[in-house]
Symmetry: C2
Subunit: 308 residues, 2 copies
């Protein structure tokens, strides 16, 4: 009888126990010393078959409602669905958004919908590493689809979207100039553009604009997530694109890049506590050049020649 | 005669040459091999006297217009003002937001307003290090005030706000639920709350709500940045708070923490190219546990015992 708690936890995850999945992700997020053991004990196979869909876009575009609709579609096919919601609110005062999301989704009581909220604040980086680990744990827990929902602003959020096999950019008419300007950056990471709230004024113009930008009408979908209009067509295009990317090597290439990014992010996460202690110990005035001090700090690690 | 181009550039910066300031910041942002020499050659004194003001808030709250008003106030006192605008759009397709900002500011032709846009994408992290360096360069270039404007979402943006001596959180009525929920996280980093668009419906309610949250009415200011209403009072409170923080040690404590963060961020920036090469050289399958591979990668650096 092996009574190692981590071995037991991994077995529970693989028996599709939703609480064990949550506990395993928390353990990694909290930098528990046993996190390495847990991740190494996971079966590497399940993630190969899983599809990871990134859903990004400005606040107010209706991402959560659309996510809820996509969950319904995948659940209708009997798939177990994981959701990683990158929550821009604080872990301290936060939780409001996740609450809203769960309510909106109406999947809160479905045991085959595994929702995980991750905060972008309150931790020093490592969001990409933590989200990647959550994907692996969810895959071991029987999820065949994972949806990563994030407000598409900022470096760390973009890094997370890059973990996805396919990315939806959700836009809506009438969100104001500053918000719409963000789509410039977001367009580069999107596989499909969704013009949501398709019955609102301005939806037609936004659709034409997006079709002009992509130069391919088949990459622009119109939906109304509240009523479900257009969601079936969107799902079909999404799955067709997934098959295409599996066949032409795009998926495999993206996964390779994402894997490399995860390795680098983990290396930084593992180094960070040491760097933090070393930075505190540096005998320096506030006015001293931080770059030079960083060089001295790395020299103390015996790395000076390698890194500069 | 010293003809070292970096020595010359630093001299030009210290002669308040706006183009030299821009060139120096670009050199650091581009990871030029001479970046270390340049930063080490800066005079460490000027940043001591400079005041750094962070301006954050959700998209559409009117941050750029308010920034323009604050610039006018500080320019009216004869101060040279630096602006670091963290641009959520891409460096590739972007520029639109900066263009808007400059137009809105109506300070584009004022040689004593130094505007610098920094992208949150297209570079692997290091935004905090780059923004810190830009502050030091602007201080050497004669700026006595630096305004850092950022959309208050995401880890890297929050890290940047933490470089500021004082932070304004700009809110506005009618921005929708998801956007308003963000303020929960933002409230923790704010020194003053600004309810902008104070003549719009809902401004009164939002002000009362914010006064209830902060439990201190003096920390909530109402402005209408378009007309300038409330901006004089806001500036007065800001300067009073700055004096208070200088006297009670808050400023000095924050600067110490920010300096530590900059050192760590620089250390990661210096390590990143090495990690990236090492990650590419790892002989691994995509399914392998990235955390374990990261450990092996650090072991190759001779760090395994130190960091795990």
């Amino acid at each position: 009888v092996n009574s190692d708690p981590i071995v037991t936890l991994v077995r529970q995850v693989q028996a599709r126990d939703a609480r064990a999945i949550a506990r395993a992700i928390t353990l990694v997020e909290d930098h528990d010393p046993r996190a390495g053991q847990l991740l190494a004990a996971l079966d590497p196979q399940p993630i190969d078959g899983m599809t990871v869909i990134g859903i990004t876009g400005p606040p107010g575009a209706g991402k959560s409602t659309l996510t809820g609709q996509l969950i319904s579609r995948f659940r209708g096919e009997g798939q177990r669905v994981g959701i990683i919601a990158i929550d821009p609110s604080s872990p301290i005062s936060g939780g409001a958004i996740l609450g809203d999301r769960v309510r909106m989704m109406e999947h809160a009581l479905d045991g085959d919908v595994i929702v995980r909220s991750m905060a972008t604040r309150g931790r020093l980086g490592g969001l990409c590493a933590a989200a990647g680990a959550a994907m692996r744990i969810m895959a071991n827990g029987g999820c065949s689809v994972v949806l990563i929902e994030t407000v598409g602003v900022g470096q760390s959020e973009m890094d997370i979207v890059s973990l996805a096999d396919l990315t939806l950019l959700v836009l809506a008419p009438g969100l104001g100039d500053e918000i719409q300007a963000m789509k410039a950056g977001l367009l580069e990471v999107a596989d499909l553009l969704v013009v949501n709230k398709s019955d609102c004024p301005g939806a037609e113009t936004l659709t034409l604009e997006m079709e002009a930008v992509t130069r391919d009408r088949s990459l622009v979908c119109r939906t109304d997530a509240l009523t479900g209009f257009g969601v079936a067509e969107l799902t079909d295009r999404l799955l067709a694109l997934d098959r295409e990317h599996r066949d032409d090597g795009t998926r495999s290439k993206r996964r390779g890049q994402a894997h490399e990014r995860e390795v680098i992010d983990w290396a930084i996460e593992l180094l960070r506590p040491w760097l933090s202690v070393a930075a505190k110990e540096l005998d320096c005035g506030r006015a001293d050049d931080p770059r030079q001090l960083a060089g001295e700090l790395l020299a103390g690690l015996g790395l000076a020649g390698k890194v500069e």
